[in-house]
Every structure is written in C-alpha cells, then in structure tokens.
C-alpha cells in the first residue's frame, strides 16, 4: 500500500526540523520518498511530490531554509527547518483574552479564511490556551466573501503570483482582460476590492470583485514580485476609489427618522426653535453623505458644510426638474 501523504509530510517535517546541517535531496528522497523508484519517471514524480510537500509545509507555517548540503561543494542543494524560527513564540492569554479568540473563530463566513483561523487557534490550543467563547458578552461581526473571484485572488496574494481576469467597468459595454500583480484585498461598504499593480498600465489600480466577470487565472511562479513596502491596501483602495475626504457634517433630521444617520452619529441634540427636528453630527466622505442624506428625502436637511449642502441641492434640482 502506498504511504499516505499525511504520513510522508509528517516524516519530512520531522526529518528537516532542527537539522544541524542542510539535508541533501538524495537523503530526503531515501528517507521519505522510498516509493518513488529511481529512473526518469520516478525522478520526475519525486520532484513534483517534493515541491508540493514543501509548499504544504510552508502553508502550515514551517520555515524551510535552503542551502548547500555539502561543506566543500555547493552543487548539492539541501534543506532544513530551523526550530526557533519555525516554532510559535510562547504567548500567554488572560481568560478574557482567550474568550476573544473564541469569538474570532466566528468572524469569517468564507471557507478558506475560516479554516485558516481555525488552524491558527489550534496552534494556540496546542500551547495550552483554553478557548471559551461563551464568557464574553460580545458578539462577533460576520464577514462574507461570496464573490467567486475572492478565493483565487486570496491565494494569489499569499503566493505573490500574477493573475489575469475579465473586468467589466461600469462605463464600458464590453469587459476587458486585466493583468494584475495583486498586493492585497480590502472590504469597504460591503464590497471587496483587490489592490495591485496593473501590469499593462504600469500603475497601481483597484478592482471591484463583483465586476470581475469571469475566471481569475494565476500564471507564472510564486513570489514573482514584491509588494511595495508600507503598502496599506485600505489607503490605496480609498485613494483610488471615487470618494472624497471625510468631513464632519451637521444635518437636521426629523425626529423619528434617519435611523441610519442617528446610529453612527457623533451627537444628536433636539433643535431649539424648530420643534420636531434634531441636530445630528456625522462624519463621512462628502459623496457618501450626500447619497445617504438624499435617500431620506424631506426628513433630512444639511446645515454644514457648504460643500455637502451644495452637492445635495444640485442633485435635488436635477430630480426636481424632471426628465428632460
């Protein structure tokens, strides 16, 4: 019976873990890949399996160092897993912190991220951390990632592989193929964006995942590019998305309406001299605020700033004039 892959992976990990010298490929093959016979076909099968296994161990968290297996000739490549770099630093958690960890397991409503979280928590449990989500009177937010493009893009971000996908811009009738080196993903206003270098345009770009209208294909090697140091995907997504800097707005809201605005308001105070209205202070980009204010119709009136007020008024006039 062929040896199960999990068994081989364990043995490979144990063989390389804490090795004082780099272990040559041949020795590795002998120890862990005995069922790949010598000869062209077996050699190739071994190479493929070994590549896949190294990748799997790295995904688990192992740090695999590559170096010369021979002290005198550096033509034989060897491998080892240094114990210190590969081991989880000892972390102690208070009981309320351990309860937070339990809640974190509930955040991701996306299979791959949920699984990665579970694995991370299992490692902490391996250190003896007792995780109990029931002790904290807080509920976790639930974050989804239903776009089919999410999974392949997240994978490509992790491996730093270039991707291509058909992208439908709102202003164009036909989708175009974009080639991108993805740096990261960001979620904002309930939508996912991928941030990266648009290879054909030679510039950073942001793409909305819901507008990727076909398969995402990864090509080329892993680690094909570096993400520019200090890249903050949220900042890039904000900068390149059509929105505006945040302002602090004072709006008049009819009492009993504007629940959405009230709930994230900095303050809500009854307006003196105008019965039935409150003064609500909220923060947000001008364009987003004007969208929101408009949806409330006659229940919300902007007082300040002027930029927001002007935008709302001019948009209202467009509707008031009716279809031309």
């Amino acid at each position: 019976m062929a040896q199960p892959r999990a068994e081989r992976l364990m043995n490979l990990h144990i063989l390389l873990l804490g090795a004082k010298r780099f272990i040559g490929k041949d020795a590795i093959r002998e120890a862990c890949y005995a069922d790949h016979p010598r000869g062209a076909a077996g050699d190739e099968a071994f190479e493929r399996a070994f590549e896949r296994d190294k990748d799997a161990l790295r995904q688990i968290g192992a740090v695999i160092e590559v170096g010369s297996a021979d002290a005198f000739f550096d033509d034989e490549i060897g491998y080892r897993i240094p114990t210190e770099q590969t081991s989880l630093p000892e972390i102690r958690f208070e009981s309320d912190e351990a309860a937070v960890l339990g809640l974190a397991a509930q955040v991701w409503q996306q299979a791959t991220l949920a699984r990665a979280t579970t694995r991370a928590l299992a490692k902490l449990k391996g250190q003896g951390v007792e995780i109990d989500p029931s002790r904290l009177g807080v509920v976790a937010p639930a974050i989804t990632a239903d776009d089919p493009a999410f999974e392949p893009l997240w994978d490509a971000v992790g491996k730093r592989r270039q991707v291509s996908f058909p992208y439908q811009r709102a202003s164009e009738t036909e989708p175009t193929t974009r080639r991108v080196q993805p740096w990261g993903l960001a979620r904002s206003s309930g939508r996912w964006y991928v941030v990266g270098l648009d290879v054909d345009r030679g510039a950073e770009r942001v793409f909305r995942l819901s507008r990727i209208v076909g398969p995402v294909r990864a090509s080329g090697k892993s680690g094909a590019y570096d993400v520019p140091a200090g890249t903050d995907v949220r900042a890039v997504a904000r900068r390149l998305s059509p929105s505006f800097p945040s302002v602090r707005a004072e709006v008049r809201v009819r009492q009993g309406t504007g629940v959405g605005l009230r709930r994230r308001a900095e303050s809500v105070t009854p307006l003196e001299g105008l019965a039935g209205w409150d003064l609500v202070v909220v923060e947000g980009p001008v364009h987003d605020l004007s969208d929101e204010v408009l949806t409330y119709g006659t229940d919300v009136v902007v007082q300040a700033p002027e930029s927001l007020r002007d935008e709302v008024v001019s948009r209202l006039r467009a509707v008031a004039e009716g279809p031309r």
Partner: protein
C-alpha cells in the same frame, strides 16, 4: 485512509503538530478531554494519533518512531505519547493563518462596543507580535465592516433562530419615534431589496411581524423555546409587504449608476441613448424606489410608471423648499 470530506493531508498534519505539544506538556490526557479542548470529536483525534504512530525521526527504525500507547488509547481512552520531544512546540502561524486571525480581531475592534475594545486590543497586540515585527508575517487584507455586518444584533438573531429560542428585542418605531421592548418568536431573516428583515411572531402585538433589522437596537436570546418550533419563515420576497402586489418600474441609468444592475434583481435591460441602459425592476415599495432614485441623482431617471415619477419630482421639490426656507440662494 479515513478522512473526512474536505480534510486534506496538510490539514491532518497541521492538527497533529498542534496536538502533540499539548499532549507532551501534560504527559497523560483523556481522549475526550483532548477532543473537547480542540473542539473536535474523539474519533478524529484517534485517527490522527494512528497516523502519528507511523512517523518519527528515522522511519523504518523501531525505537526512533514516535510512541503512542495504543493499549491505553483503546482500553482506557487515555493518550500517552512519547519519543516526540522535538515536536514540543507548535509551528508558528503561517502568513495566511496569522492574517485571518488578526484581521478577524481588527474587525471585531471596529464593531465592538466601547467597553469591550480594551480586551480585544490587548489580544490583538499579542497576536500581532507573534505574527512578526511590523506585520511582516501578515498578508494584506483589510475589512471595514458595514453597520449591518458590525451589528451585534444579527448573530444573536441567527443563534436564536438556530436554537428555536425566543428573543427580546428593543425596536425603534420611526412613526412614533420610540423604542419599544418586544418578546418575539424569530422564524427567519430575509433580505428584501437592500434591507434585512426579521420574520417573527410578536407576543407583544399578538401577531406576525416583520422587523427591520437596522431598527432593532438590542436583542437578547432567551432560554425559553418558541411557542411553535415548526413554524417556517414566510417568503418575504414575494411581495409579502403589499399583499403580493409589485410594480414594474423602468429606470434609465447613466454609467455612474450602472451598479444598480449588479446590485438588484433586474428583470430586463435594454440599451438607452448616449451610453445609458434602461432597466426594469419589480418593486414592492414606492418609497424604496424614491429613495434609490434620489441617491442616484443625477445619474438615473425614472421612466415609468408616470405617477411614481411625479411623486419623485414632488419629493425633490419639497426637499428643496426646506433649503429655500433656510436661505439657500437658488440663483
């Protein structure tokens, strides 16, 4: 191999590399305790241990293999593992693992009530440190939760629905501008147009009710079961709000408003003049259409029905007049 669906070899190895340090630190662990600690079942742990039994420093040489006391495991359901000291520490987080956990916590911080932030931030700081200096062990992923995602209410409602428990909710009634406390039997959550609703039997009103989730200010799951556990959630999408009546509206969307097509259920679309697109939507609420059109201004026009368009124009004029009263210069 005994594997569960979706359980890959790397999954199993990852589990073992976390399990072994725990076992070694304790010396002797009851199988059921280990299963409870890792939130899994005893069968899976046993399967994993049988794999562990086959591995070791120099496979093939007895004495160098990891020792698992199978007799104790099968007889007394006690785990004893030996000769595995080199596996005494769990493997560090991979970038994907560290990122998913850290970002989950960062999202929790943003969504958490003030009094819970401190403990989440403390936990987060420890994890970020374990992930590496300056986040070098993290991938780039950022989530700004929407108010609904951050809502503390939705998970409570979901849990109560799953367990068949009653819920006490604080509900904001805009027409009366008051918060009322209600006892409800929750049946389901449904998204209609862009709002989320809770379908429930309301004990306070003694009637079926649909509550807008964004107006539920607080929710507490009770221990008491619902009165009729077999009750199925009503279909909220089939025009349940207006006794089955929906209206077909036709919108003309300029490019900046084309996202409507991907966001709502559009029943038909045709190209319009100058790069616009005309779409038909089935809607249950005129108020909703009006809000949508105002938000899309000036990039969308309501083509039909005519009386909706008139009402929309009237609403815009009425709103403008509020600014006029306010001394806005319209010249």
């Amino acid at each position: 191999m005994n594997t569960q669906p979706g359980d890959t070899a790397p999954d199993q190895v990852a589990r073992l590399l976390a399990l072994v340090p725990y076992l070694l630190a304790r010396g002797e662990v009851r199988l059921d305790d280990a299963a409870a600690h890792f939130g899994t079942d005893a069968d899976q742990i046993e399967r994993d241990l049988r794999l562990l039994f086959m591995t070791g420093l120099s496979p093939g040489l007895p004495g160098d293999l990891i020792e698992v006391d199978l007799e104790a495991l099968e007889g007394d359901r006690i785990i004893r593992v030996d000769n595995a000291d080199y596996l005494a520490r769990p493997v560090r987080f991979s970038p994907a693992e560290a990122t998913s956990l850290v970002v989950a916590l960062r999202t929790m911080v943003e969504a958490a009530p003030e009094e819970a932030r401190d403990v989440i931030e403390r936990t987060l700081a420890k994890l970020e440190q374990a992930a590496g200096q300056d986040g070098e062990g993290l991938l780039r992923l950022h989530v700004t939760p929407t108010p609904l995602e951050a809502s503390a209410v939705v998970p409570v409602l979901e849990s109560a629905i799953a367990h068949g428990h009653q819920v006490e909710i604080g509900y904001h009634v805009p027409s009366r501008d008051e918060e009322s406390q209600r006892l409800v039997d929750p049946r389901g959550l449904a998204r209609v147009e862009d709002l989320l609703y809770l379908d429930a039997w309301c004990h306070t009103a003694q009637d079926d009710r649909a509550f807008r989730v964004d107006r539920i200010l607080s929710a507490t799951e009770l221990e008491t079961p619902v009165a009729d556990p077999g009750a199925r959630a009503r279909d909220l999408t089939g025009g349940w709000f207006t006794d089955g009546e929906t209206t077909t509206v036709t919108l003309r969307l300029a490019p900046p408003a084309r996202w409507v097509v991907e966001y709502y259920q559009v029943t038909a679309q045709r190209p319009g003049p100058d790069g616009t697109v005309d779409v038909d939507l089935e809607v249950a609420s005129e108020q909703w259409v009006r809000s949508l059109l105002l938000r899309l201004a000036p990039h969308a026009t309501l083509l039909a029905p005519a009386h909706y368009a008139e009402a929309l124009t009237a609403e815009a004029r009425a709103t403008l007049s509020l600014y006029e009263d306010d001394g806005v210069d319209f010249s």
